[in-house]
Symmetry: D2
């Protein structure tokens, strides 16, 4: 059985990951980590007595385990580096790593021949949408994006919508856009010619649509996230991949 | 049988109206009018020999007919006034009438107790969408509009999307909107708090969506116009209404 | 302040109704009822000490209150009749009343000049969808229904989809349908010519689409229920209506 | 310049292909074929005088050309075999080839080292939908299909919807479906556990939706065909492929 340590195990994602690992037959919850807890008693956290509770990286002597990280942006680089240097394969869901930090982690992993995954998004429908959008754009270079979220979302456009636009532009660098109504605010945000429209309404959760058009036809890809439970399928995929492979991956789309 | 005169009978809408009137059992195509034609011979226009062709208003001596106008903005007021003053009930599909002109026509119609309809839009799906949106907004004041058109459309947002936003605001004057991301172009055009998003893509024809959201639920109304043939059902409704009623109507939504 | 009694107050809907009434300024939670509880102490149920807890109808001496019922099908008729006979205005969300029972309740209400509402559905998006579908069908008699629910739903088609088809047929009794592919199972369930299609997939919650088509155009009405919280807005509407009016209503659509 | 012969050049698809080839800089319309025409004069068909008109296969002495076939099911095998045996690379859009005939054509092509494409569908949005659906099904094995067509369509379900279901089942042979409402006609046609729902309404053209669901999320792929013009982009892709490659392909999805 593959051992697993969950960093950030008391958070909303972390606690769901704990339940996931407990459910999976091929994996065993060996440890949990959160520097801000006082008790090291697993029963205080409804965990089996065999689970080791850590609030200090230096106490962790487990190795050959997978390190799943849903902690906080300020801690994630230190955590991930510690993991790689101590023989723990990282699966990083925490955001906040810079390009330089990612490059550094990749280098350590390469030297130590360790597998790992850094993924800003574990939602499979969102990841497949991005992949399909990239392929479709080769044949349908005219494309716009609509993302719809609950009214309390703090940013617009959503990070995933912008990432989709960027991913599409990577495969259609030669496409030129002409927008006759560019001056109208109704045309939304322009990312190198691709328009992004953000809808914010109560009731909605998190949804993204990519609309492609060409003479006489249209192709639309839509994903709906109703519940964070959906991320667990992506975490499970990552666990299996890291367990069975040797390479270090950035972006879950690269293993689908 | 109710007699009908079609003004602008050689245009794309006018010629479809001619075919419609020829098809309807209770109506009879009595005359057609276009000041820019030379021949007054109906067979030159594939019309029955009983149809009178006019290129001058003063020649028209028919009365007790319906005057359907799909001519041009510069002519429509003169045409409509002529019709009312000569006992011809106007059904006006031509755009371009000012508020003052409409008021003046309404006054003449009232004095002469004549029926008539001025309608900027004869598409039943678009009209029902507007009506439903007004009703829904009473219970779902949080609303956004997405309209999607072919890439060659010359304006953004579409006139119908803006009209929808205005109609909704009429019934929700007290609603206050707070948009945390108001500064982002991704949020679209703001009409008194209602966001309008315009998509322009090849392949698309003319489509409008009104999205309502509230705690735990959403309501969406969408209409698709694939073909101008769809307007003929609205023209038929207008013909029947004008034929059977005494009042003067602005907006087909008021007879649905 | 209008007093309110909640029957079935420990159920999933009932407990949300309790919270709603506590939140509303013009209403006061005066009592709660459930024949299967042992304690009559409000603090055992996290209720204010001023709230009377009942497990026996005969103990209830409050009058001039609203009786909201989210109990069980086997109890609802007895409850509703008791309410009317004791001066309590019923708002009935429990299903299971027969046509005869509804007629009997209506008769008692009429004799005692009491208001009340029996509503199988308090979701405003679903009720507006039904209303709009009825209106649209007058102009778009060709219509099909798609309802989408989570994979665990026990019936197909959904009760609301069937109710929508019936409501549409009421206003289009003369419409004749010709289905060339009537023999194919792909055409779904036929209700007097209106096809109903039921999708069952994990992830989905509760969604209904009514699709109308006519020459060159389409009109679609869709509602999404993501959460039961959405029903509370309908309950609030019912409370206000019953408080301010004298008539007895079956179906929330009749007060929208 | 690559020479091209169009078989079935007077049909609705064939005549669009003629216009396409005339428009493309790298291709030259060298010949057209239809056994049912009397005149061999290109100007009778609005073709350039350099275009050879054939009504008999035996007259065709061109070689090293591409043979595009949009003729009729009864002629397509003879045509395709003739093409391959006379050094003409076939691009076959005509339906009606049996599995045995396709195998035979593939064999001739292999022996003569000639490229060719047999494609039942040239609509890129439909082909991409099928490809994406196959990939998505690996991660979302729970899936249903809705196809929507105009009311005059003669079959249900559509051939492409059935092909989509089959393609999905190829990649998810181990998936087991449990449908609690299998007995209800509302659940549509069952293809090895995948439900297909066919909507038939006036106004609609040709549309297909594949709906995937999993815990807490959904993924939907939709394509809309508004106009046959959309097929020409697929024909152009096929022309370029056959011109530049050596292999014999069945299904345009294999070159996307």
């Amino acid at each position: 059985m593959q051992k697993v340590i969950v960093a950030g195990f008391t958070g909303s994602m972390g606690s769901q990951v704990v339940q996931l690992v407990e459910r999976l037959a091929e994996f065993q919850l060996a440890g949990v980590y959160n520097p801000h807890i006082d008790s090291l008693n697993p029963t205080d956290f409804n965990l089996a007595s065999s689970v080791q509770v850590f609030n200090n990286l230096q106490q962790i002597t487990l190795n050959d385990a997978i390190w799943i990280d849903f902690s906080v942006p300020s801690a994630v680089f230190t955590n991930a580096k510690f993991a790689l240097e101590h023989g723990l394969k990282p699966v990083i869901g925490t955001s906040g790593l810079s390009t330089t930090e990612i490059a550094q982690l990749r280098q350590i992993a390469a030297k130590k021949e360790m597998s790992g995954i850094i993924a800003p998004n574990f939602g499979l429908s969102a990841i497949l949408l991005l992949k399909f959008a990239q392929t479709a754009a080769r044949y349908f270079p005219d494309v716009e994006i609509i993302e719809l979220h609950h009214a309390d979302k703090l940013d617009a456009p959503s990070g995933t919508a912008l990432a989709t636009a960027k991913a599409i532009r990577e495969v259609t660098p030669e496409k030129k856009f002409h927008d006759q109504q560019a001056a109208s605010p109704a045309r939304g945000l322009d990312h190198e010619g691709i328009k992004i429209h953000s809808v914010r309404l109560p009731g909605y959760v998190a949804h993204e649509e990519v609309l492609f058009g060409a003479a006489g036809e249209a192709l639309t890809i839509r994903q709906d996230s109703f519940d964070r439970a959906s991320f667990m399928r992506g975490v499970e995929l990552a666990l299996n991949y890291v367990s069975d492979n040797q390479d270090f991956i950035v972006g879950l789309e690269n293993i689908l």
